[in-house]
């Protein structure tokens, strides 16, 4: 047991020395300013249109949505999504709270909501997909396994290092998007109230449990949920990396799964069995924001259970395969 810590340390240093983490930071530093700029343009445009009066803007948004509800060409699922959205907007308006108060904190919240299903998993894969398959590609795995260390310890140390970096990645996404967007929108806004607790059943929103949460607390909760999703993605990517020989294949497999997930979420409401797939359940933050889940009957408990089972299975498979398999080539 005593020799686990040095192993973890070794794996951590390997990740750092390979500069994967710097690449992730670099990606963030390039992309977040782009999103910030786009967001700024949107804010500018609506300021011109609505004379910087968000109440008028929200009211117009409500009216537009009501009009689109009337159209026969809009699928029923989108309509129920819009009905829910409408009632929430109305709630914000009735309580005189601006749902999109422009600030670095609001931007971070929105950005993370949008990146939980694809962007953050992608960053995590940059580290995870390479961990085992990378050693096989370069051949260093033989060196590693000829040491007098049990195989499960080798794998465990890799996994532990990975989980440490998952936390680091999630944290740095938060920090970087806050710091950069703050340049454009200001760093205030931690105490702005956000409503949560919308209970959705079909078309209607039960408002009885709605309560206001300070935005910093909302961010914290969001971070927790994203962290959980990221852990599961990391474990799955890790398993793929154990199973596949090359890093490229490992990344392709995970990417395909994730992209399939986003496509399925957009059109899967007819195929209900899809809700047992992990990639459909990744948007845990929707339960916080109160937007309808992609498939009827999905709840936070359900999604967490599905993700948990997938993650656990990934761990079991990784260890089973890695400890048993012959290392050839």
């Amino acid at each position: 047991m005593t020799n686990l810590l040095p192993l973890i340390r070794n794996e951590c240093l390997k990740i750092i020395k390979k500069k994967r983490f710097y690449v992730i930071l670099l990606i963030l530093l390039v992309l977040v300013p782009m999103f910030t700029y786009a967001q700024m343009r949107i804010a500018e445009r609506s300021r011109d249109k609505f004379n910087s009066d968000w109440r008028l803007e929200i009211q117009q948004q409500i009216t537009d949505n009501q009009n689109s509800l009337g159209s026969d060409r809009i699928p029923e699922e989108w309509k129920s999504y819009r009905r829910v959205f409408l009632q929430q907007l109305q709630y914000y308006l009735d309580h005189d709270v601006n749902p999109n108060e422009p600030s670095g904190v609001t931007f971070t919240r929105e950005f993370l909501n949008n990146s939980v299903s694809l962007f953050i998993p992608l960053l995590i894969m940059a580290v995870a997909s390479d961990l085992v398959s990378g050693e096989r590609t370069t051949g260093t795995i033989k060196m590693l396994l000829t040491r007098p260390v049990r195989r499960w310890k080798v794998l465990f140390s890799k996994m532990a290092a990975l989980l440490m970096f998952v936390s680091l990645i999630v944290l740095s996404v938060f920090v970087i998007s806050y710091l950069i967007s703050g340049l454009a929108f200001g760093y205030k806004g931690f105490n702005v109230p956000v409503f949560t607790g919308f209970q959705i059943s079909g078309d209607t929103v039960d408002m009885s449990k709605v309560h206001a949460v300070a935005q910093w607390k909302y961010l914290l909760m969001q971070g927790g949920l994203i962290w959980f999703v990221s852990i599961v993605v990391a474990l799955l990517a890790f398993m793929v990396s154990v199973l596949v020989r090359s890093t490229a294949a490992s990344i392709v497999v995970m990417m395909a799964a994730l992209i399939a997930g986003t496509i399925l979420t957009n059109m899967a409401s007819a195929w209900t069995a899809a809700k047992y797939l992990f990639m459909v359940n990744m948007e845990l933050t929707t339960y916080l924001a109160g937007t309808p889940a992609p498939i009827e009957g999905m709840t936070l408990g359900f999604s967490m259970a599905v993700l948990g089972i997938w993650g656990l299975a990934a761990v079991i498979i990784s260890f089973a395969v890695f400890t048993k398999r012959d290392i050839l080539n």
Partner: protein
Amino acid sequence: MNDSKWTWRAVSLVSILATLLLITGFVYAVGDILNPKGEKLLSSLPQETAVPTAAASDEYKILALGDSLAKGTGDNSGEGFVRRTLTALSANEGKAELLGNMGINGLTTTALESKLKEEGVQYALRQANVILISIGGNDLFRGSNIMGTPATPKVEGSKPVPTASANDLTPESLLSALPEAAKRLGSILDTVAKINPQAQVYYIGLYNPFGDIPELLTPGNQAVTAWNNTAMDMINKHSNMTLVPTFDLFDRHLDKYLSNDHFHPNGDGYQRMSERIVQAVR
């Protein structure tokens, strides 16, 4: 080696702290979602944005309210009389600004009455100094199934197909809806006047969209005229309200100024309406 020792220490420390922080957030979030505590909303919610102060009074701040005509349905450019009025008023160095267009397809007087109770609508009304209202058409022509008889005004559906349903449209059905709807129009005008007593209110009169169906020409004209007269009576009670007539704009020119659905005006029709409105406004 010393270098990597410090890297390791920093990385492990930060990542453990980050993990703890994120786990806290996770526990919080799960608890909050699974057992949401509906609290009484505190009245201490911060009033974040001050209401913008009224700008110079020579600026027209336009708000449109009402049915598909206010929305501009049928106009291929999507402008409707609201945007066209805005354009005309902002020409020649005039200042005009559109605060919002709350036109909803298929809105009836009943639905508008309840809409006026919404805080957001009231807020927008208070900001405006020119209020354009178009309402009543759906009440008058709906008893005949002409608008697809929506279950609720929000889910108003299909475009009207007059040729199919016009047979059901009888003079009696047109007039039957009138007294009740007129009463609601009266209360709508009163409410608007109460919400914003300063604003100039322009009510867009109705025209008869069924003049091209011979057996509906006379009863339609009668019903629409009766409605417009009733509306005029009520509007005259408010000193700051004006009825903008449109009946003559479309009478016997339906083929030129109605869009393909034979119910809503087309771009040219809306243009003529907006010219009338501009004349009334200044």
